[in-house]
Symmetry: C2
Subunit: 256 residues, 2 copies
């Protein structure tokens, strides 16, 4: 029962494929829905939407009400503070949900931009509500999605709170790996879909700092890096760094 997927951008699937056959079904649908229930949900799902690299899926301040499930590709969610500095609140990949930040206010709080050519399913929150009322398991699942998002953000808050640049970066890389693993990709070797600048805007660091930390990781042999292709060679070391167990130098840096 292993999902076999390629790490490269999947080829476009025929439009006739629907939720029941979708490779990401377990990510965006509750496992416990009957076929009939899945059918009803499918009728709510609007068109697929292709989003090209650097295109905006929706913009902060725009009227919300639409939810999106990522079918393939990668996105970043960007918020701009008062003085124009951009912060990235998250990176989304296949199976992740977009647009839930508009539920409270009816307006999107962040601008979502595709990091590569991508595709999403579109669903109206208003119509979804009716279905949630009829299908308790779907409602519970929807709440789990919202709860997961709250937990994810709490984790990011903890990461940004206190720790050094190397810890943030190690945490970020390990987290990315785990997310790929849960989608059937390799957790050890993958492409960084975002620029160094994006990583910095997410981790609260400058681009130079990101670059230096990556260089340090590579110098120690924790990772291999070629442009945006990364391999986590020594996960144990990254975990140790992430936990702050080591200042920076494990054995050679000062002795050299």
């Amino acid at each position: 029962m292993h999902i076999v997927l390629h790490n490269e951008a999947p080829v476009s699937r025929p439009a006739a494929v629907r939720c029941a056959q979708c490779a990401f079904r377990e990510l965006c649908l509750p496992e416990s829905l009957s076929d009939g229930e899945v059918n009803r949900l499918e009728q709510l799902i609007g068109r697929r939407r292709r989003v090209l690299r650097d295109d905006v899926l929706f913009r902060a301040g725009a009227t919300g009400g639409m939810l999106f499930a990522v079918r393939f590709g990668h996105f970043k969610s960007v918020q701009r503070d008062r003085r124009g500095v951009e912060h990235i609140t998250g990176f989304q990949m296949a199976g992740d949900m977009l647009g839930i930040d508009s539920i409270g206010t009816g307006q999107h709080a962040s601008t979502v931009i595709a990091l590569e050519d991508s595709e999403v399913c579109e669903i109206s929150y208003e119509k979804l509500q009716d279905l949630l009322a009829e299908m308790p398991r779907l409602m519970a699942h929807f709440h789990r999605i919202l709860g997961r998002e709250i937990l994810r953000e709490q984790g990011v808050m903890g990461m940004l709170g206190n720790i050094r640049a190397d810890q943030r970066l190690a945490t970020f890389l390990l987290d990315l790996g785990e997310r790929y693993a849960s989608r059937g990709y390799s957790s050890r070797s993958f492409q960084l879909r975002m620029s160094r600048e994006d990583m910095g805007a997410y981790l609260g660091l400058t681009i130079e700092c990101i670059s230096r930390q990556l260089a340090t990781f590579r110098r120690h042999g924790w990772i291999a890096l070629d442009k945006r292709a990364i391999e986590l060679i020594r996960r144990d070391a990254l975990v140790a760094i992430a936990e702050g167990l080591q200042p920076d130098q494990p054995h050679d840096a000062r002795a050299a």
Copy 2:
């Protein structure tokens, strides 16, 4: 229609008072519920629960499933990372909801501790679900609460991301003031219910840094401070600091 409340800990209200008369109704209930609907919700609400200062309302890892609405008092939500460092994910006051971080997993993600003698209403998420399915407006309201929490955490992430200690602290103080204002208290003058250490654990700063920044704010006359009583004297200056418009010295610090 102004809510008049004291900034000191309110006296205990008789147990017979229910949601319909609750001073915080508009915070925890949708405005649009009929009396009958409010009645049905009230029947779900379990006992009130008093929580004394420093007592634990619930602990990270404990089985979730219970939601809490703060009636009066203040709480902090604490998460402990791998190496034992505590991060505070939020401070909750009257009308705020606690326990929603257990919705996704069934387990609480944070430990919630009372900062002073407090009281909460208790409601079972499982029972609430049944009602949500029957009452669309209640469901929409519940989603708004979850959405607000997501937005709040995004704001904190932005704050922790990039900015200097003085900006974080100014943002924090202004936010506290706004929250009191929305509850009918003064936004200008209030008690800090948490220790300097707690503020640091929330803002990602050390206790010494908090102390120094507060001293700087006071030296410049932005705030008045006596132990935990604070007055925001020059809100405009704090806003400017929060937005990063000034490095630190407005007119006198270097000239002196």
